[in-house]
């Protein structure tokens, strides 16, 4: 197989674009897709200060590297969850990567916030992942606002977005359907959220990451139940196989024609949010979920 642009031997085959690329031309293709997404959805500009959540996985590292090379003002944020046999490796990967590429990094330790995940897990009698996700989102948002960032980016790719959208559609979840997309404007108490890799598939991102030498580490969280939305991703892989390009078309169609009616509906029937009386984070309850978890963990500590 030959590269579509320069006819050198291809190293990446892209059925959805019915083509293949050599390493250099694939870099150009990938970077242009990211730029196109940023411009078409007006995610941010060179004036923005962008905070990027770095889990240690390839997608978030790819996200910050491509934005840095494009000349955006980027800073990494790593949340250290204090999970044994997992958090240490994730943090070391992120720190080494940021040092290698000259990227500013903020590390937030959950142990110091009284929210070490194993303690939270010991205190909760429901699955840890939803609480852990809530805690991560809370601190992404808090650091972004406290430190004056104007956009908060995550490494979600097209497959993540499609799987989430599909799951929201199956439940007709008006609230989630009203605010899913590559850009969520800042709204009282919430930073602007952006997903710069939304046009790129998981496969494309993995190929690009490999070719840029982004490290492959596999130290899964011991509490993980495996990849989320796996069955929806399989279903969509079948659909995409039969009609290459269908995933992106479905997603862009939702943004263009599907989302607004859900937003209108949500304005009428959605929960109204007010600042948490303890920390100020927007919540539909009086005290936000993270403050309640914190109190519960502190109570447990007091008993020890």
């Amino acid at each position: 197989m030959k590269c579509k642009r320069c006819k050198a031997p291809a190293v990446v085959a892209l059925p959805s674009h019915n083509t293949g690329f050599c390493a250099d031309c694939f870099d150009i293709f990938f970077t242009r897709q990211v730029e196109r997404g940023i411009h078409s959805e007006k995610l941010f500009t060179k004036e923005d200060r962008i905070l990027i959540a770095l889990s240690g996985g390839k997608d978030s590292l790819a996200c910050i590297l491509v934005l840095k090379r494009l000349g955006y003002d980027v800073t990494g944020l790593h949340i250290d969850l204090s999970i044994p046999n997992s958090s240490e490796q994730a943090r070391a990967t992120v720190e080494a990567f940021c040092q290698e590429h000259g990227i500013a990094l903020i590390v937030k330790e959950m142990a110091q916030e009284g929210l070490a995940i194993p303690k939270v897990k010991a205190r909760l009698n429901r699955p840890i992942c939803s609480a852990c996700g809530k805690i991560k989102r809370y601190f992404f948002n808090k650091v972004a606002l406290d430190e004056g960032f104007t956009a908060l980016a995550t490494g979600h790719n097209l497959d993540d977005e499609i799987a989430r959208l599909f799951s929201n559609v199956l439940r007709w979840d008006v609230g989630y359907l009203s605010d899913q997309g590559p850009m969520l404007e800042a709204d009282n108490g919430f930073a602007r959220k952006v997903k710069p890799l939304f046009r790129l598939s998981e496969y494309e991102t993995a190929n690009w990451s490999f070719l840029q030498g982004i490290p492959y580490h596999y130290a899964p969280c011991p509490y993980s139940k495996g990849a989320s939305f796996t069955s929806y991703k399989k279903l969509w892989a079948d659909l995409e196989d039969g009609m290459p390009g269908r995933k992106l078309a479905f997603y862009l169609g939702f943004l263009e024609r599907g989302k607004v009616p859900f937003q209108k509906q949500e304005e009428l029937t959605g929960d109204s949010l007010a600042p948490c009386t303890s920390c100020g984070y927007p919540t539909s309850a009086e005290v936000c979920g993270v403050c309640r978890i914190k109190d519960a963990v502190a109570e447990l500590d007091a008993q020890d």
């Binding site: 790719n157 993540d160 190929n207 490999f210 990849a227 892989a237």
Partner: protein, 83 residues
């Protein structure tokens, strides 16, 4: 062509070792030896869709049309993110 094409009969032991490509699956790290002659054959044999894995030989990526040779060591790494 590469040294991988050396005929089995020329191997020092003098024995004819059956043709085989050593495949390591990531992240499970399971290894098996398969009698396949191209990346596409390999993926078909494993029943893996080409757009769900990276196929790596000697630190480089292979497209499905690439030929494989006796003695090749191949990594098949799934791309689905765990997050």
């Amino acid at each position: 062509m590469s040294e991988h094409h050396a005929a089995p009969a020329e191997e020092p032991s003098g024995e004819r070792r059956p043709y085989g490509v050593t495949v390591t699956l990531q992240p499970s790290n399971k290894t098996e030896v398969l009698p396949v002659r191209s990346v596409l054959q390999l993926l078909n044999k494993l029943q893996i869709r080409p757009t769900t894995v990276l196929v790596i030989r000697d630190g480089g990526l292979l497209t499905p049309d690439q030929r494989l040779n006796h003695g090749d060591e191949i990594i098949v790494r799934t791309v689905v993110s765990s997050g």
